[in-house]
C-alpha cells in the first residue's frame, strides 16, 4: 500500500467532506440505483478513500462508478452521517477527466457530455441534432436511434435549425474563462 495523504487532503479541501466520518454502514450502496452497474458501490468508494491508499485512489479515478453516478442525491439524503457522496463523485470526475484517466468503458458517457457542452458552446443552447451528430462522431455509434429521429421530427420535437442566442460571445467567454 502506498499511503498518500495528499490526494485525500485535496479532496477534503475541495469537497468539504471529511471521509473519516463515514462509518461504513452501507446505506448509500443499498439505495443507489446504479450500484449494480458500478465497479465500486458508493460505500466502497468511501472506504477506499479512507484507506488513503494512492493505488486505490487511482483506481477510483479510473473507475466506471464515477461516470455512472447520476447525482440523484439519494445517498446523501439517506446517509446517517450526511456524507456528500455526489460532491465527491463530482470531484473525482473532474479530476479523472483533467488527468485523462477516464475509464474506457465509460467513454460513451463522457462523449455525450462533451457533445452536449460543444453544442452549448457554439449556440448558447442545446441543439439536439447537433448533440446527436456530435455524439455519434465521437463514439462511432452511427446507427443508434436512427429510427427515433424522424419520429421526433414528425412530432415537432426536433427543430432542424439551431437557435442561436445573441450572447454567444459571452458564452464562449464563459467557456474559456472556466477552462482549467
Amino acid at each position: 500500500m502506498i499511503a498518500n495523504q495528499k490526494s485525500i487532503l485535496e479532496l477534503q479541501q475541495h469537497t468539504g467532506v471529511n471521509v473519516n466520518r463515514c462509518y461504513q454502514c452501507g446505506k448509500c450502496s443499498a439505495g443507489c440505483q446504479l450500484a449494480d452497474e458500478m465497479d465500486f458501490p458508493p460505500s466502497m468508494v468511501m472506504h477506499m478513500l479512507q484507506t488513503r491508499d494512492e493505488e486505490l485512489f487511482q483506481q477510483l479515478l479510473n473507475s466506471k462508478t464515477i461516470w455512472l453516478c447520476v447525482s440523484c442525491q439519494n445517498c446523501i439524503e439517506r446517509c446517517p452521517m450526511s456524507i456528500d457522496i455526489p460532491q465527491i463523485m463530482d470531484y473525482l470526475r473532474e479530476k479523472s477527466a483533467g488527468e485523462h484517466k477516464i475509464n474506457h468503458q465509460s467513454r460513451d458517457i463522457v462523449a455525450f457530455h462533451r457533445a452536449f457542452l460543444d453544442s452549448i458552446k457554439y449556440t448558447g443552447r442545446l441543439y439536439e441534432i447537433g448533440l446527436i451528430a456530435g455524439y455519434k462522431t465521437r463514439t462511432f455509434h452511427l446507427t443508434q436511434d436512427v429510427k427515433l429521429a424522424p419520429k421526433m421530427y414528425a412530432k415537432g420535437k426536433l427543430p432542424l435549425v439551431p437557435e442561436m442566442i445573441k450572447g454567444t460571445r459571452n458564452i464562449k467567454g464563459i467557456f474559456s474563462r472556466t477552462k482549467h
Binding site: Y23, G26, S29, A30, G31, S43, M44, P80
Partner: protein, 666 residues
C-alpha cells in the same frame, strides 16, 4: 497577638526531593506572628499529628498552617487533629507544597523560595481566620421516588425495607413502566411480567410506601434533608376507597376505540380503563379526553353499572404537599415511533413496527395473546426483517448516540420469532453487534447459530409496500456492499431510545441538570453515577440514558443506598464555608441594600429575601439572606454584590487580600 504554628511536611521525598523543607521551616519561623515552626517526614502520620497537637497545647497557638500535600487529601485530617487539641478546626489552613510546587518544579533555589511564599500567604490568611462551626441541618426521613418503572420500584423497595418512608409518584394509572410491556427478557428469556408483577404488588402493600398513581410532581422547594414537594393528583374520576376493581365499568363503557398505550396502539381500550389486567393498583381511571360524558355531556354508563357507586365525575385535580428528605428520579425513557423516517414510510405502513410493539405481539398478555401476527391482516409473517440502529447513531435524522439496548432486544426478538414461527425466516440488518455484558454475546450467538437468524451487515436504504409485502432494500457490506432486497411480511425497527417528553420540564422544576438529549445528568460520569448536581436528589434507571434491566436495577439499589445513608443520621453536618450577608446594629442592620442581584446570580437558588421588622411588626428593611442548607459556597453572589454585603466564610475578601498582600509586600 497571633501565635501561628507552621508545620512543613516532607511527604516522604515527594516534597523534600525538590524543596529544602528545613529552610522553609526556618524561614517561616522568622515570619511575623509565627510562634513555632518545624518540619517532619510524614506530618499526616500519627507522630506528625501528635507534633501539631502538642505544639498547640504547649505554645498556645491561635492558628496552624500545614505545608504539605493537597487540602483535598488531608485538610480533614489536620483540622481534626487541631480540634482534638482544642483549636477551632477552621483556624487550620493547608498550603499545597506538593502539587503546587515540588511536583511541578526542578530542585533549585527558586523552588524553595516559592514554597516559602506559599507558606507566607497562608500565614497571613490564617491570622484573619475566624472560628467557625459546622452547620447542622435536620433531615426529614422520607424519600420521594418519581416514576414507578422497575428503577423506581427497586429504589422504593430498598429504601422501604431499610425502614424508611417512601412516597412514590407515578404519572400513569399503573406502576410497572416499560418492563411491564415486555414479553420475555434477555439474556435469560424469563417472562417479564412474572418477575415484575410480584414487585409491583409489594410496592402497593408495603407499609412504608405511599403510592400515588395518576400523579405528577407539581413543585419542589427546599434543600437536602428538607424538601417540600407539591404533588398533583390528577382526577381519576373514580373513588378508590369505594372501587373494588370489579371491572364492570370497563366492559360496559361505549367509548371503546381508543388506542391502548400499554399495547402501543396495537389494541384498543375504553375511556374508563385499567391499562392492563395486572395493573397496580388494579382500579380504573376515566380518560376524560376520550370519555363521551366529558366530551358530549351525555353517557354516564359507568355510573349506572358500578355496583359500589364509586364513579365521581366532578372531582377536580387535587394537590398535596409532603415534607421529604431526599428525591430519587426514576422517570425512565421512551422510544421513537416509526414515523420519523421518510425512507421507512413515515409510519404509514401497518406492519412496520417498533421494537416495543413487537414486544406486545410476542407477549402472552398482548393483543394477539403472544402470537406473532400482522396488525394489517392478522396473518402470521413468514419473513420478517429487523433493522437495528433505527434512528440511533444517526445524526442526520435521529440521535447520534448508541441506544445500547437494541442490539440485545433485536436478537431476542428474532429468537422469539423463530421459536414461535418455526417455518419463518428472519433477517437482522445491523452495523455492529453490541453485546457487552454477562451472557450477552452468548445470547446473540445462540440466535445466529441455534435459531438460524440471518444477520446481514448493512443499513437499510428504504422500505416500500407492494402487494401486501414490504420490500426492504439493504446492502451486504461484507459482500462488497452488494444490494440486498428482501420481500418481508413484517419489519421491526429497533427505534432509538430517547428521553421522556416531560423530562426537561421536570428537571427544571427540580433544578437538576440534564444533557443535550434531555436525559438527567449524573454528578460525575464515573464517581457519582447516581447523584445529581443537587444535593439530596438522586437518579437511577433509563432516565439517565437508555439501559437494560440489570443495569437499571443495580443503579436503583445504588441510589437507594445513598438515600439510606443520608437517612442514617438525624442531622446533616455541612462545612460552614458558605456565603453570609453581613448584619450590623440598627439603624443600618446590614450594608445590603436589598437589590437581590445575588439572588438571580446564585446557581443553587440559595438566596432568599428577608424582611427586617420593627417592634410593631412593620417592615423596616428587606435584605438578602443565604439559606445555609442550600449554599454550596461557590462565591458567585460575592462577586455580584455591589454593596459588598455578602461574603464567604473561610474565604472572606479580607482573607484573600491578606494572602495577596503577603506576596506583594516583599
Amino acid at each position: 497577638m497571633s501565635k501561628i504554628g507552621v508545620f512543613i511536611c516532607h511527604c516522604g521525598e515527594n516534597i523534600s526531593a525538590t524543596v529544602d523543607c528545613e529552610k522553609v521551616a526556618a524561614e517561616a519561623g522568622k515570619m511575623e506572628g509565627v510562634e513555632f515552626a518545624t518540619d517532619y517526614k510524614y506530618m499526616c502520620s500519627d507522630p506528625g499529628q501528635t507534633l501539631i497537637k502538642n505544639a498547640i497545647k504547649e505554645k498556645g497557638l491561635t492558628g496552624v498552617v500545614v505545608g504539605a500535600c493537597s487540602p483535598r487529601m488531608h485538610e480533614p485530617t489536620f483540622r481534626k487533629a487541631c480540634a482534638e487539641a482544642g483549636l477551632n478546626p477552621y483556624l487550620c489552613e493547608m498550603s499545597n507544597l506538593r502539587e503546587h510546587c515540588s511536583w511541578v518544579h526542578e530542585k533549585n533555589e527558586q523552588t524553595t523560595e516559592k514554597a516559602i511564599d506559599l507558606v507566607k500567604m497562608l500565614v497571613e490568611k490564617v491570622k484573619k481566620n475566624k472560628p467557625l462551626n459546622a452547620i447542622k441541618v435536620p433531615i426529614t426521613k422520607k424519600a420521594l421516588v418519581i416514576g414507578g418503572g422497575i428503577a423506581g420500584i427497586q429504589a422504593a423497595l430498598d429504601i422501604a425495607n431499610a425502614g424508611q418512608q417512601v412516597i412514590m409518584v407515578e404519572k400513569e394509572p399503573s406502576i410497572g413502566g416499560h418492563m411491564s410491556q415486555l414479553s420475555e427478557t434477555f439474556p435469560t428469556l424469563d417472562c417479564s411480567q412474572c418477575i415484575l408483577t410480584p414487585r409491583m404488588v409489594e410496592v402497593a402493600q408495603h407499609p412504608n410506601i405511599t403510592l400515588y398513581t395518576y400523579a405528577e410532581l407539581e413543585h419542589l422547594d427546599g434543600f437536602i434533608g428538607n424538601f417540600k414537594a407539591t404533588i398533583r393528583l390528577k382526577a381519576k374520576s373514580v373513588d378508590y376507597k369505594l372501587c373494588t376493581g370489579c371491572g364492570l365499568c370497563t366492559t360496559k363503557c361505549p367509548s371503546k376505540k381508543i388506542p391502548s398505550e400499554f399495547n402501543e396502539g396495537l389494541g384498543m381500550r375504553t375511556a374508563i380503563y385499567t391499562p392492563f389486567p395486572q395493573a397496580v393498583p388494579n382500579k380504573p381511571v376515566i380518560d376524560r379526553a376520550n370519555c363521551t360524558y366529558y366530551q358530549k355531556g351525555k353517557c354516564k354508563v359507568c355510573e349506572k353499572v358500578c355496583p359500589t357507586g364509586a364513579i365521581q365525575y366532578d372531582l377536580p385535580d387535587q394537590f398535596i404537599t409532603e415534607d421529604i428528605g431526599a428525591v430519587v428520579i426514576a422517570t425512565g425513557f421512551n422510544v421513537l415511533k416509526t414515523d420519523f423516517f421518510p425512507e421507512y414510510g413515515y409510519g404509514k405502513y401497518a406492519d412496520v413496527l417498533t421494537g416495543l410493539q413487537f414486544e406486545r405481539l410476542a407477549s402472552a398478555s398482548g393483543p394477539t395473546l403472544g402470537e406473532i401476527r400482522r396488525p394489517s391482516d392478522g396473518q402470521i409473517p413468514k419473513k420478517i426483517v429487523f433493522i437495528a440502529c433505527s434512528g440511533s447513531r444517526d445524526p442526520a435524522k435521529g440521535i447520534p448516540y448508541c441506544s445500547k439496548i437494541c442490539c440485545m432486544y433485536t436478537a431476542k426478538h428474532a429468537m422469539l420469532y423463530q421459536h414461535k414461527v418455526h417455518d419463518g425466516e428472519s433477517y437482522v440488518f445491523y452495523m455492529d453487534i453490541r453485546a457487552g455484558g454477562k451472557n450477552y454475546e452468548e445470547f446473540v450467538r445462540r440466535a445466529i447459530e441455534d435459531d438460524g437468524v440471518n444477520y446481514i451487515r448493512g443499513r437499510v436504504a428504504r422500505i416500500y409496500e407492494k402487494g401486501g409485502k414490504y420490500i426492504v432494500k439493504g446492502a451486504d457490506t461484507l459482500l462488497g456492499s452488494k444490494p440486498v432486497e428482501i420481500e418481508a411480511d413484517m419489519v421491526v425497527l429497533a427505534t432509538a431510545g430517547v428521553s421522556n417528553p416531560g423530562a426537561e420540564e421536570l428537571a427544571q422544576k427540580m433544578h437538576v441538570s440534564y444533557d443535550a438529549y434531555k436525559f438527567f445528568a449524573e454528578a460525575h460520569p464515573k464517581l457519582k453515577p447516581v447523584e445529581t448536581n443537587t444535593a439530596g436528589i438522586f437518579l437511577c434507571g433509563a432516565c439517565q440514558a437508555p439501559k437494560d434491566i440489570p443495569e437499571t436495577v443495580g443503579m436503583a439499589s445504588g441510589a437507594a443506598a445513598k438515600v439510606i445513608g443520608l437517612f442514617s443520621n438525624s442531622e446533616l453536618t455541612r462545612e460552614p464555608l458558605i456565603a453570609v450577608v453581613n448584619r450590623s446594629a440598627p439603624p443600618v442592620f446590614s450594608t445590603c441594600v436589598g437589590c437581590c442581584m445575588c439572588q438571580t446570580a446564585c446557581p443553587y437558588n440559595a438566596i432568599e429575601r428577608e424582611e427586617i421588622k420593627g417592634r410593631d411588626g412593620s417592615v423596616i428593611k428587606t435584605v438578602a439572606k443565604v439559606n445555609p442548607g442550600l449554599c454550596q459556597g461557590c462565591g458567585t453572589c460575592v462577586a455580584f454584590c455591589r454593596s459588598k454585603a455578602i461574603d464567604m466564610q473561610g474565604f472572606s475578601n479580607e482573607q484573600m487580600f491578606a494572602e495577596v498582600m503577603a506576596l506583594l509586600n516583599e
